[in-house]
């Protein structure tokens, strides 16, 4: 037990003394996950809206595919992205491998099904009186769509928070696409995995505490958003 306790004490020292290696991993994590959440929302919200709002042939099989992708393992995403981004792959010339944008691409693929599925659910669950109300107030089709999207804004933000929670805690994509390069692509999760393997519990615990704090903040945001959306 002693080494865990001393690790915890050292972790607080690292955090309060502003250990550059620790904060480099935090910075990389926040940067990559923020990029990927923005991309997931930008791509996933309109797709989810169409899937939840429009009635078209094939909508149900698409929903099944999206729901299945929710369980996509991060290492599989990492593997696929690696195959595409490596020098021999079709995207090799873009030089995305072992970069933060490359990690963000993989994490976007991870977050996308979450955003699409939750947005589609949110739009499907919009009050059935909304459309009729907007039409009787004189809304044109584009005004109908924009207002419906705005009415679902809390649920959309909830989708973003859920995607962020999943992305920030993943390790497979960051490890395979980022390569865990110190000062460059090392994230909180890859650093924890590596430091624990080396027996360096202090830095692992310090990063773990930050990760838990991030998860707590995301959960608090989600609770607040759930209350606002009336769920």
């Amino acid at each position: 037990m002693d080494y865990i306790l001393s690790g915890l004490i050292q972790a607080f020292e690292l955090l309060f003394q502003g250990n550059p290696e620790t904060y480099s991993a935090v910075k990389t994590t926040v940067l990559a996950s923020s990029l990927s959440v923005v991309a997931s929302m930008a791509i996933g919200s309109p797709l989810g809206f169409c899937l939840g709002y429009a009635r078209f042939p094939g909508a149900r099989p698409i929903r099944v595919v999206v729901d299945t992708l929710l369980a996509l393992p991060t290492v599989v995403i990492g593997l696929l992205c690696y195959a595409f981004m490596s020098h021999r792959g079709p995207l090799g010339d873009l030089g995305l491998l072992f970069t933060i944008p490359g990690m963000a691409v993989g994490q976007t693929i991870l977050g996308l099904p979450i955003v699409v599925a939750l947005t589609a659910n949110a739009v499907e669950n919009l009050d059935h009186r909304l459309k009729r109300t907007l039409l009787t107030l004189g809304a044109e089709p584009h005004q109908l769509l924009l207002t419906s999207l705005w009415e679902a804004r809390f649920a959309l933000a909830l989708a973003g928070a859920a995607a962020y929670g999943r992305i920030v805690s993943e390790v497979g994509i960051s490890m395979m696409i980022g390569g865990n390069i110190k000062w460059h692509t090392r994230t909180i999760t890859t650093a924890i995995a590596m430091e624990t393997g080396k027996g360096q519990f202090a830095i692992g615990i310090a990063l773990g505490l930050i990760l838990i704090t991030l998860a707590l903040l995301v959960n608090l945001a989600m609770s607040r958003l759930k209350r606002l959306s009336g769920q």
Partner: protein, 218 residues
Amino acid sequence: MNERLYHLENLTQVYGDRTVLDVDRLDIEIQTITGLIGPNGSGKSTLMRILAFLETPATGRVAFQGQPFSKVPLDLRRQVTMLSQEPYLLKRSVQANVSYGLKLRGISDTVHPVNRALLKVGLDPARFSHRSWRELSGGEAQRVALAARLVLKPKVLLLDEPTASVDRESSELIRHAALDARNRWGTTLIIISHQLTWLRQIADRILSMDYGRLTQVD
């Protein structure tokens, strides 16, 4: 003779294999108040939705201001607005709810019209305009929804059981607001209500609907 606003002929509406509306002929003249009574499921609300351009009839002819149903342009359709029994308020403030229709029409200066509309339905703008939708009682929400229609100064106001879930005071306010709309802007009103006494106080004529068919009430 008054100008004819709506003209319906041989109108039917069908849901599945059930005919819910079967109207041989109905004319609604401008600036009149028509009351509609009848049991639940008799087709009143279906008729209202057709008059509000929310539903397309299965067969028959509907004309609004002389224009066939399918060719009524947006600016004419925007002269018609409807308040349902359980109105939906947007997840915004009272001010934003009441001004929504004006903004759709490109009107940006909405504060004074919204305040006037709130006063018409008996809500003090100073107390209510910044309240959130979730801070309103059922009766207040109903009045805010009515204000959101009145602010548009509509040519046609369709009210589907506007007094069903409000107290007597709100019911009187709604009656006054409806009459005021007719007197000020020449609004034509069609009102569904189960309260025949209330309806008699406001309507020029009352029609009864049963099994989708209309008859005049004496």
